[in-house]
């Protein structure tokens, strides 16, 4: 070990309030949520233990199943599109185009805006009576139809468009950082061998960027699970339940329908999902360096 720290009262006394805060605000609340989900709580929490009844009820609730179905479609499409656009954009930016900084600024600015703003902008653009559809009709393209927002089997794709617009800049930035981090000798070697540039990108560089891609996928899937603001602003979950998502389901059952038991059961499902799928990644990402180097 490079450093030998000394114990100090200052350090111990400082860290105690943080322990209290973290144990209370994160761990305590989490346990409480899971506990409520095992009780028969309805409007107010009670402590009548009912085992997994709430979970049985949850999985038998159509609205929940629709929400889960929606989030899978949304997440899969969002990630695929963002990865493709992000990678292509990064390659373009890396190929010494003019005005690279300007392009980069343009691509990333939506990421600085809130999901509420993003949702409202796209609600306006995709509104069939005033938005893009009308604009195309006015241009003379009368068969143009873009009514996804008000069509229940297409509304989820409208959500994807808004999501991609907001997030692909971040993925571009990540990919660009990944590209620039790759050993430049690869390029010299491949040029000596006469391999065309596009092949180098797809057969050599892309596989080498696996850590970047994994990071991008993890980040996006975490934000997909949290997706709430965008849905509220863009579609409000509708038409019908066609864009309902788990996070919105939970909020509605907590605060509007006052069904605490069902809402906490849904929370616990999300919790279990995140823990099962992301703990290995956390561990790998943040604690692995302890063992090997230095």
């Amino acid at each position: 070990m490079a450093r030998k720290q000394k114990r100090s009262w200052g350090a111990t006394l400082t860290i105690i309030p943080f322990w209290v805060l973290i144990l209370g605000a994160y761990v305590g609340t989490m346990i409480w949520t899971v506990f409520i989900s095992m009780t028969s709580s309805k409007m107010l929490p009670n402590s009548t233990f009912v085992g997994f009844d709430q979970y049985r009820r949850l999985f038998a609730t159509d609205r929940w199943n629709i929400a889960v179905h929606n989030i899978i479609i949304y997440g899969a499409l969002l990630m695929m599109l963002c990865l493709v656009i992000g990678f292509l954009m990064a390659v373009m930016l890396d190929s010494r185009i003019r005005a690279e900084d300007t392009v980069r600024t343009i691509v990333l600015y939506p990421y600085a805006m809130s999901f509420i703003v993003t949702g409202l902008i796209w609600q306006w653009m995709m509104n069939p009576t005033v938005g893009l559809e009308k604009a195309m009709h006015d241009f003379g393209w009368t068969s143009f139809s873009f009514d996804w927002l008000v069509t229940s089997d297409k509304a989820i794709y409208a959500l994807v468009i808004a999501g991609v617009w907001q997030a692909s800049g971040l993925i571009t930035a990540l990919m660009l950082a990944g590209l620039r981090g790759i050993d430049q000798d690869i390029w010299k070697a491949s040029r000596v061998d006469g391999i065309p540039t596009w092949r180098v990108y797809f057969s050599i560089v892309l596989p080498m960027m696996r850590p970047t891609i994994v990071t991008a996928v993890v980040l996006m899937s975490l934000s997909v699970i949290k997706a709430y603001d965008l849905v509220v602003a863009l579609t409000g979950g509708g038409p019908g339940l066609s864009t309902d998502v788990p996070a919105k389901f939970i909020m509605d059952f907590f605060f509007e329908r006052a069904n605490i038991g069902l809402a906490t059961a849904a929370c616990s499902v999300l919790l279990a999902f995140v823990l099962v799928f992301f703990t290995p990644w956390f561990y790998f990402e943040y604690f692995r360096e302890k063992k090997g180097n230095r």
Binding site: A2, K6, W9, G10, T12, T14, I15, L21, I22, L23, A25, Y26, T29, M30, T33, I36, M89, R96, V103, I106, L108, Y109, P110, A112, M113, S114, I116, V117, L120, I121, W122, W124, M125, L132, K134, A135, F139, W165, G169, L170, A173, L174, K188, V192, L219, L222, K226, V232, G236, A247, M251, F254, F255, A263, C267, L270, L271, V274, Y286, F287
Partner: protein, 299 residues
């Protein structure tokens, strides 16, 4: 032959200005993408300067014919949120009163905890860090309901104190991550020398580490101001109606209006809400990218 090889060692240098089909394809892709990203902003801006009649008549790409700033004035001072008709200015002030203390406190807390975790040895600091990380990645919904109950129990639910402390709590993981990694990269000799000279925990933090961490503080400010300003979920749940931040007010103005919707006012209101993070973004440039890279990926 040698000269060719010599130039090829710098193969990634500026290319000749010749426009090959490949280059044309690259530029076409870049231009189309930029249009996709810019189109909504353009439409928002032009719409916000149009009169209500013109919105009904003309199409969204057209420039305003009768240029008016009336929608902006209305959005700021008289648009209706469903509860009252005082415009966004109240939401703006609320967002400022929430953001300023929350940013300062969360950065301070993150810096102190990051400093303790990176340079001092206390029992179980790895466990603490692990718990904190989990907090950064789990959906807020898991913590929200018990927190509501706790704040309600001490009669602080729906107050300014409530929303500010909640932002500090949920900002702590990323802030700590940021500062922990930054302090871990500070040369350890500096720390040792200060120890030899008899400086204690707080003395080293205030006199050495805090002044050193200016770049990290800038990144943290950018990250936190943008994040807290853009927050919607925590604001709706914890701020209480009188303290609702701008995002919540904006959503109410746009999504709860009855009757004909004033799209020009809506767009002006939307731009006003996005103005603060956008200004930060355009002014900070590379710092913003550094911030999201540091906060989101590696910490």
């Amino acid at each position: 032959m040698t000269s060719v090889v010599a130039t090829q060692t710098h193969a990634r240098g500026p290319r000749p200005n010749r426009l090959t089909p490949g280059r044309a394809g690259i530029y076409a892709f870049v231009v189309v993408s930029c249009l996709f990203f810019l189109m909504p902003l353009y439409i928002m801006v032009v719409t916000s300067f149009k009169t209500q009649d013109e919105i009904r008549m003309s199409q969204i790409f057209a420039l305003p014919r009768d240029f008016t700033v009336q929608p902006w004035i209305e959005a700021w001072s008289s648009a209706c949120t469903g509860v009252s008709c005082d415009g966004l200015k109240i939401g703006f002030l609320n967002s400022v009163t929430i953001t300023v203390p929350a940013v300062i406190l969360s950065i301070l807390a993150g810096a102190i905890l990051g400093y303790s975790l990176s340079l001092w040895r206390t029992k179980g600091s790895n466990l603490l860090f692990g718990l904190l990380l989990a907090g950064a990645f789990l959906p807020y919904q898991i913590f929200i309901y018990p927190l509501v109950r706790v704040y309600a129990y001490v009669s602080l639910y729906g107050t300014l104190f409530n929303i500010i402390t909640v932002h500090v709590i949920f900002g702590l993981p990323v802030m700590t991550l940021l500062f922990r990694n930054y302090f871990a990269s500070v040369p350890i000799e500096l720390f040792k020398a200060a120890r030899v000279d008899g400086a204690g925990f707080w003395r080293i933090f205030i006199s050495i580490m805090l002044p050193l961490s200016t770049p990290m503080v800038i990144v943290a400010v950018i990250l936190q101001v943008t994040g807290i300003w853009n927050d919607f979920l925590l604001g709706t749940v914890f701020a209480g109606q009188t303290n609702w931040p701008m995002t919540v007010q904006l959503n109410n103005i746009v999504n709860t209006t009855q009757g004909t919707r004033a799209y020009n006012v809506d767009m002006a209101a939307t731009i006003l809400t996005a103005a603060v993070p956008l200004t930060i973004y355009f002014l900070s440039g590379r710092w913003f990218v550094r911030g999201i890279a540091a906060g989101a990926v590696k910490g």
